[in-house]
Symmetry: C2
Subunit: 645 residues, 2 copies
């Protein structure tokens, strides 16, 4: 039997530090951390091939802590290893006692793993449970594209495996043969409010994972031999899942005496727990001073992201490449299809561009990319949560993932999207069939609250002042093409919504578009009409009626959020202070961009908003659904005339 | 062998009608419908115990069509049976040819199942995939509480079973022994864009379902004997899952010739498909005129929902019942805890009240209900999607489900929430730990975009003019208690957000609260400060600084959306047209309620908004996280003073 006294020493040191960290923070999850004492120590000091001095090396093995609340022990290890945190520009070498800053306002050690806060050892923020395995899958997909043999270790809680997304991720891993992933289920048997369900017991997890097509290794998570053998096992054609039976609060009598989930211990209880651990160390003959780090340094990534601007080239050329000469001539195409044209062009321009879709590639037109760059296309099937988190994983390995589905179905992954925001992941979402113009399929397929949700992030800033989400809503094929290209070149989370119907071109090849921008399509004197996406066309048609009635309007296409509202208010001021905003979503989109700016300005501007004020139903044509929600050409003309009276 | 010529006749009639319906609509999913030809006919004409003339009888067996796009054949059957649709007040008896109105603007036959549009045979809107089994589980939970032996049949697509929520639902069904559910997996082997993955093959589905603890029956979905035997099988202690191997486009050579997902056939192709089906009928000796309906009528539900107002009783009494005398005396308690107090009181008052929580009952304080009414408490574990859809199922059987988790984690179920909205489900959500005052756990646990998402529905109306979602944001324990009671008595989807910290009482027992209401807490002359929830307390503290600086403010607690903004604008007008709104969420909540109203009014009112403008990180105290995002007492006082300069 091997001598593990060096690892024992480290493990005890980390366990004790985890307890002290949570005590110092006054919160945190020491009992969860202790259940990972052996697994974390084995991974970070022995098994993983990485260099704590270079956490940005995507060629190294990676660790995703899906049960993010157990993070103290990982921080303890990384600080013990004097690992580097912070940013590439401003790296910080951590010391052992820096771990005690856990959860402080200016600490890099956030309450849950967060690369954006300055802990790049992690590739993704976790804490909302069930998402880490998907991120790991994305990293593994990138590893394959990079020809890297790095492994992606992912630790998942047993209670956490109740989240359906875990099983979406397992399916995805098996489907795409992402055998670089090592799934490690930490079966400590306790959740927050109770023991875990029998459905999440080690026994049932084993059965489930076997049924899903994994190779399963059941181990004692506190036995070095079993732990290291399982972690170092080579995968065959099946992905490896390790079921580690562990003890919540391992090493501390007190922490094992009841459910201590999320509760730090202090004072005498803390002293006793430390004494418990010291006693174990003495029994094991372990010394905390042992040099246990034996991880080999990884090879550098040969293919380094160049970070240069990606060009989709000429719109006309891309249209011809896509066999859409007729549409180019007729100057009519759906924005969703132009997304596909642009995506294929971007794929040709840069190998970092990858794409995902959730079994609707023929509707979102992601198929135009998939057909040409199959190796860089990851079909996610009908599982949007996994898709979005996996995209965050691909982005963490310097890919630029474009992720599409119906705007409605992307709602399924809004929690995952928010975690991607917290991670500052460089992902690009495209939600198709937005608004009510989808018509016949009805409200279960219509993207209606998306603008409100996305806008809420458009005004939340990242540390560098950029929007947490940058949003785009193209009104025609040209702008859809150019905005897709702009997404590729806009760092961070971007969201674009496209529409189902074919619409006329409004722009030319040489028009340019920018984040937050808008376009003035006509000059009028009586009022400003602001629209976006499909509604620009409806508003444009309303202008004809208005012209006959002697009303002249300035028509604005507000294609991006956060919107540059100053310019729109200026236009409003020059049009008698009248602005009418029309949108085909529930309240909370561009209309509120304008009303919030107007109300803040204190200027004498009246803003009327037309949006979807009813839960719609099916109808056979877009005209009928628009009529249902009061957004027809006539409705808009009527509202504009009423404002001008 | 039994003689199935009557069922064959019906089945052919329904299959033909499904093809014609989709052709008439110009859209729809005929091939999916045909794969269900035998299953639907067997269920609706033979197996299910129900009365097509009384779809509102919750005592009858129910059918949840989780793969909602396959709905044409169900509509065809129901119209053939001259079933009743519409509303209780205005019932409509359908005729066979009414099926051909599918997807028309004024048709009760929506593109996907929708009880709210007027098809109460269904209990829930489906169409966003993977949700139906959870609804079925909720219905089965209600059946148990009602002492009813009704069965809940749920048809799930094979491709759809990629959605993790399906597996959350299977766990939930097994955990709670909801053996009234019959899961029917329709394995036709095709998704929208491709054949289904091997991971969703009948073979793997069988293995998965066995591993999850189901009794699995694999059948030929086009063989009457096998279909009826499986559907009529009695459950033991394990829930029954049927894997039906079917053919997409069954009966039509053309529809089987390639992937026809979601594509109707017309003209000659339609004629040929009809001829194919007629040929099959002739071969089988089947006649369409056969009287196949043999379903027995169900017993009426003995326990009828009375619909009366539910009282939580006196706040003081409920606090004492909960052992919170000290908090009552100290006049200080967290709103999340007051939710638990109210929930327990409501549980005592009315048996319709049921509760669910996702493994955080000790934090949301749903445990105060669970401890007393265990039979009416459904622990959903860490699986929020299933929880929300299951609540919709409970509501469909006249229960009043209260569903809690952290506001952040409820985001996980926003797609399900939207489907509940479309269903007009009577469910009550409570998202705890909203805003940044959670502090130490960091952004992965903070509810920040919730107000924007929820507000988008607050201004979308149901058919009867009520808000699609009514929102509440209590600022103290008294209002939290009363608003929880108000939720119980407000029909439809309600959402409440509560906060982590203990806060002082602002109200007395005899204060009353209403949908859309606000409370004026102080009278001032210089400006109006509007807040909600925890921020009311921060604003109140800022008032002291302002008073010293000689600024007098009117403080408004805007505790509900859609907000009655007229009254707030009036207050603003009487305060020099100055309104400052403060909220602890991302943009899109009450600030935009006020700015939208102000901008529309055309009056000279300036509205400044303070909200979370940064993606926050952890800190050890709420004061620190508030400082991080510019929402401290001083920040508010400063902004107010700047407005008054």
């Amino acid at each position: 039997m091997a001598d593990y006294r060096d690892l024992d020493g480290k493990m005890i040191r980390l366990a004790k530090q985890s307890l002290k960290m949570c005590a110092a923070a006054g919160s945190g999850h020491p009992s969860s951390a202790l259940s990972l004492a052996h697994l974390t120590t084995a991974l970070m000091y022995r098994v993983m091939r990485y260099d704590p001095k270079d956490p940005w090396n995507t060629g190294s093995d990676r660790l995703i802590l899906s049960e993010g609340h157990a993070v103290p022990i990982v921080y303890a290890a990384y600080c013990d290893l004097e690992g580097v945190a912070g940013t590439r520009e401003k790296p910080v070498t951590l010391k052992f006692d820096d771990a005690l800053t856990l959860r402080e306002a200016d600490s890099l050690l956030d309450g849950h793993p967060s690369p954006a806060v300055g802990f790049p050892f992690f590739d993704a923020a976790t804490g909302s449970l069930g998402q880490g395995l998907s991120v790991a899958a994305g990293l593994a997909g990138a590893a394959r594209l990079d020809g890297s043999d790095r492994k992606i270790y992912c630790i998942i809680g047993d209670g956490e495996s109740r989240e359906g997304q875990i099983w979406e991720a397992v399916d995805f891993v098996v489907d795409h043969k992402l055998t670089a992933v090592r799934m490690i289920f930490n079966c400590n048997g306790q959740g927050q409010s109770d023991y875990v369900s029998q459905q999440q017991s080690a026994e049932l997890l084993e059965k489930k994972l076997l049924a899903f097509g994994c190779e399963v290794k059941v181990i004692d998570g506190h036995d070095w031999d079993e732990v290291i053998t399982a972690l170092e096992a080579a995968a065959t054609d099946k992905p490896i899942a390790i079921i580690a039976k562990t003890v919540k609060g391992w090493g501390s009598t007190e922490l094992q005496s009841k459910n201590y989930h999320g509760k730090p211990i202090k004072g005498e209880l803390l002293d006793q727990a430390i004494a418990d651990l010291d006693a174990i160390a003495a029994k094991l003959g372990a010394s905390e001073d042992a040099q246990a780090f034996a991880a080999s340094k990884p090879a550098k990534l040969s293919k380094k992201a160049d970070g240069g601007r990606i060009s989709a080239g000429s719109f006309a050329a891309a249209m011809k490449d896509a066999g859409l000469e007729k549409a180019l001539e007729a100057k009519k195409l759906a924005t969703r299809r132009a997304y596909g044209v642009a995506l294929a062009a971007l794929g040709a321009a840069d190998e970092r561009v990858v794409a995902m879709d959730g079994d609707v590639q023929g509707s979102t037109f992601a198929n135009m990319f998939a057909a040409k760059y199959g190796d860089r296309y990851f079909e996610a099937r009908i599982a949007e949560q996994n898709m979005i988190s996996a995209a965050a994983g691909l982005a963490a390995a310097d890919k630029i993932p474009f992720v599409s589905s119906f705007a409605k179905f992307l709602v399924r992954g809004y929690d995952q999207l928010e975690l991607a925001v917290i991670s500052r992941a460089n992902i690009k979402l495209c939600g198709s069939h937005a608004g009510v113009s989808l018509a016949a399929d009805g409200p279960s397929q219509m993207g209606l609250p998306d603008m409100a949700f996305i806008r809420s992030f458009a005004h939340a800033q990242n540390g560098d002042g950029t929007p947490a989400i940058t949003a785009f809503c193209p009104s025609d094929a040209v702008s859809a093409f150019k905005l897709t290209e702009l997404m590729a070149n806009t760092q961070g989370v971007c969201y674009m919504r496209t529409h189902r119907p074919d619409v006329e071109f409004l722009y030319d090849e040489d028009d340019s578009f920018e984040v937050g921008g808008f376009k003035k399509l006509t000059d009028g004197g009586d009022l400003v009409i602001v629209g976006s996406g499909y509604m620009v066309h409806i508003a444009k048609a309303a202008m004809k009626i208005l012209a006959k009635a002697g009303v002249s309007a300035t028509l604005v296409d507000a294609y991006s959020m956060p919107l540059q509202t100053d310019g729109i208010l200026e236009l409003g001021s020059s049009c008698n202070g009248r602005i009418l905003v029309v949108e085909d979503n529930y309240i909370g989109g561009i209309a509120d961009e304008v009303t919030a700016a107007a109300a803040r300005s204190g200027e004498s501007i009246t803003v009327e908003s037309m949006f979807v004020r009813k839960v719609p139903k099916s109808a056979r044509t877009p005209e009928e659904t628009l009529a249902m929600v009061g957004l027809t050409v006539d409705d808009i003309a009527g509202a504009a005339q009423a404002m001008c009276k």
